[in-house]
Symmetry: C2
Subunit: 500 residues, 2 copies
């Protein structure tokens, strides 16, 4: 108690809002990224890996998420030239910088894909982290709607490749110009009022048609009992907005006809409808029908950020949330056309369009549906019965690894054999190999089927019975690699039959 | 000229010391990481992906690079609780934090691998960047030399798997305890003097035996003409150090015997030699001989950081540097045993050992030897002859992609056909597909062999000849996917034979 006080030990914890990923989680994400990269690559997109760090100047402030306009970045100042650097908050801003910097060397239109972590300096929440993965594909340098159509088709392919079957997802397409046309036809020219209307439209998902009507008019009493002031439009002025938001029909042709009505005589609006028409036609030509991709003017997320078509991929199945309630899984990818990112650097308008797949959300969806997950198969464990014969065990493990089998020698303190089996259990080892001095003398090894052992231990009541049915076989030492390889490779596993 | 001055445009450039990686570079690195991950996994190591950001407190200051003790981190302060956060500078410090944080859930010994970028806030140089990849494997929680031997065997496997054949690399093993034994047997107890001797030993690579003798004694005139003061030992005191550094013999047994002499009656030294003996025996048992892994006491890099065995993998072939001079490629991986990283957090000593592979250096080595590199194969390009028939071209590209072929429709302005071919050239497209209205009417498409076209253009002198030997064939439209698939799949490519 009279000891001198030392510097306190550092706390072993991730910073707030960050987390670690282990084993199967890492492998699962990497496998998904590789699957998506393969689709992107097949569509002609080239990989790009820009640095995680950018100058704040180059990064600008282009966060697409209108819900959190104050979302910040992690930034610091260089010691020598006092420049501010920051971690990238998405993969689009770096793409704009890369394209502006290397535009003379890049074949244009430039199709690129990028995948990696991005960082947001914002308040973390349940399931919301300050570092997460994005997985983007963009085409820079073409105004052709064929680029937008292609991106949507590619997104559908990606979802199916990672394990979301057709029918369990839908990709919805809307167009910012159509909405602009609606606002124009309403005679709204005041920017502030337009912004108010935009914000109201963003609430359509939550408050529905009647809610939007109230919010565009006098106002609305929300669920919490608070009264939200409205934009103050006349009731008939809300009609074009509602017509726009509810224009989706059973087929693209009718939806597009409804939209043409909604935009009235606005040239911008007509251009937007033409763009949607063009995308719909090109998708039909490629064989992507409304079972995969639909024109849906109720998609309003991100409309403020994008300048033309807007895409959103939604999973349509229900999952059970942490409180046991069923709910729609919702959005897993989004994107659209943006024409002003590169202009910041060069002064030239460069049209671009792209998508971002939320890989972590997609993994969560697959996990919720039980389509991926659980733990990885552990290694075959060579137990250590005699610590002086470590060389023998190393020779065994080298044989197994040479045969392509995941295997290891127990490297903890071998004294307590029970600890070795506990370790094997924790690692989910399928088999344990045992060679004591008696086995060594007789030129044999024992192979223990740990999965079967667990099952037997659960089934068998008495300890006596358990001893009589050990889930293990004895084989000649020189058959080790052969028997283990066959066991690991078989789907129906019967160690006894394999051992013969 | 009288225009009002605007805010200057942001500069499109990476921050100093950072760079972008394109196409084949990204794909090549990812392929290498996947190959190494497969070996690590087969050895029983589990993936870990910790966050890029750590608290400065957890990170501590454990930079292994003794040459640059002032090497810094990129750090910033949190707005709310004023905690300092930083980007990780290696993958070992985060491992220590992760192990301390999750030790009750992790099976121990914990074998983990990790791969990803790390960041160093230091002066960049040619080929030295402030963000680079590391690719580590460590075993935490065992003092057994079997863990060290296994790591060395695994490192050899990794090098061979990524394309460094046996004979082109060597893994050298040394031991810090042996050096401590040497210092002990010299009667050096003063910490400052020991540190001076350590620093001198670190220069052995550069100055050789005679240089080390001078620096341990009175001093030395270096190449630049400056006089470097020596440590001031008596000439005979340098003998054990030199004996240690030059103890490597033709076989491990003789090397170990030499080391036993060098450490005299130091118990620490004897323990170190025993450890090396044990590693050598275990490697022999696994079949890893001196053609792959050797005991080499001249490996001194990192001796100050590690507490027991130290490993270094060196490529033994010569490459030509940027000035055309031949030079040894040198080190591509290193590691060793360290026992105090986790103790910082928990107070308990947790033995650990591991390696870090310098993936970027390894890629550079393979590129220098011409074993990887060049550009990726570009996509098959569907050219656009008639912009109103974009749907037809999209249908073609969908067919090719459906057959697993990398393909795209030209999305730039199609007016100038020459631009489409220039684009194909820049992308390294193997084939171009052409369907004008004439072809459309006749139900055919033209396939142009762009590689052959280039070759012919180079071979054929006159323009006339060139026109008569266009490297293209006409096939029925419905044979498109079949012919392209066969062409891409064949090693001997003859489009004319395939088209039949």
């Amino acid at each position: 108690m009279a000891k001198p006080k030392k510097t306190p030990r550092p706390r072993a914890e991730t910073p707030k809002g960050f987390r670690d990923y282990f084993g199967a989680e890492v492998a699962g994400r990497n496998a998904m990224l590789a699957q998506i990269a393969e689709v992107y690559h097949r569509y002609g997109f080239d990989a790009l890996e820009s640095s995680a760090v950018e100058t704040v100047e180059a990064l600008g402030k282009f966060l697409p998420d209108v819900d959190r306009p104050n979302a910040g970045v992690f930034a610091w100042q260089e010691a020598d030239d006092e420049k501010w650097l920051a971690l990238r908050y998405d993969l689009t801003a770096p793409l704009a910088r890369v394209f502006a910097q290397h535009r003379n060397d890049l074949a244009t239109p430039y199709r690129r894909y990028a995948m990696g972590p991005v960082w947001r300096n914002e308040k973390p929440g349940p399931g919301r982290f300050r570092q997460f993965y994005q997985c983007d594909a963009d085409t820079v340098g073409t105004a052709s709607m064929a680029a937008d159509a292609e991106i949507c088709a590619m997104l559908a392919d990606c979802l199916e490749v990672v394990g979301i079957p057709r029918g369990d997802y839908v990709i919805r397409i809307n167009n910012r110009k159509v909405l602009n046309g609606v606002l124009e036809s309403m005679g709204l020219t005041d920017d502030a009022q337009r912004a108010d209307v935009m914000r109201t439209i963003d609430k359509f998902d939550k408050v529905g048609e009647e809610g939007v009507r109230q919010l565009l008019g006098k106002g609305r009493l929300d669920a919490s009992g608070a009264y939200i002031d409205g934009v103050g439009l006349a009731p008939e002025q809300a009609d074009p907005v509602i017509a726009f938001l509810t224009s989706r029909a059973g087929d693209a042709a009718t939806t597009l006809a409804n939209l043409r009505t909604a935009v009235g005589d606005s040239a911008t609006g007509a251009a937007g409808v033409d763009e949607l028409q063009s995308i719909a036609d090109l998708l039909t030509a490629q064989g992507y029908g409304p079972d995969r991709i639909v024109i849906d003017p109720s998609v309003v997320r991100g409309l403020g950020y994008y300048t033309g078509p807007v895409f959103e991929a939604e999973l349509t199945f229900e999952i059970t949330d942490e409180k046991g309630r069923p709910r729609q899984f919702g959005s897993v990818a989004g994107g659209g056309r943006y024409d002003d990112l590169v202009k910041r650097f060069t002064g030239q308008e460069v049209p671009a369009t792209g998508i971002s797949i939320g890989v972590d959300r997609l993994l969560a969806a697959l996990r919720a549906k039980g389509r991926i997950g659980g733990t990885e198969a552990g290694p075959v464990l060579i137990t250590v019965m005699d610590r002086d014969r470590m060389g023998d065990y190393q020779a065994m493990v080298a044989e197994l690894r040479g045969a392509g089998i995941r295997a290891e020698v127990y490297l903890g303190n071998p004294k307590n054999f029970g600890n070795q089996l506990k370790y094997a259990d924790k690692r989910d080892c399928p088999l344990a190999v045992i060679e004591g001095s008696d086995e060594k003398d007789r030129g044999v090894v024992i192979i223990k089927d740990l999965a079967l052992g667990k099952k037997l231990a659960a089934d068998i009541a008495s300890n006596e019975e358990w001893k009589e049915q050990p889930a293990q076989v004895e084989i000649a030492r020189n058959r080790l690699a052969e028997v283990v390889t066959r066991y690991i490779g078989e789907t129906e596993k019967n160690l006894f039959e394999i051992a013969g």
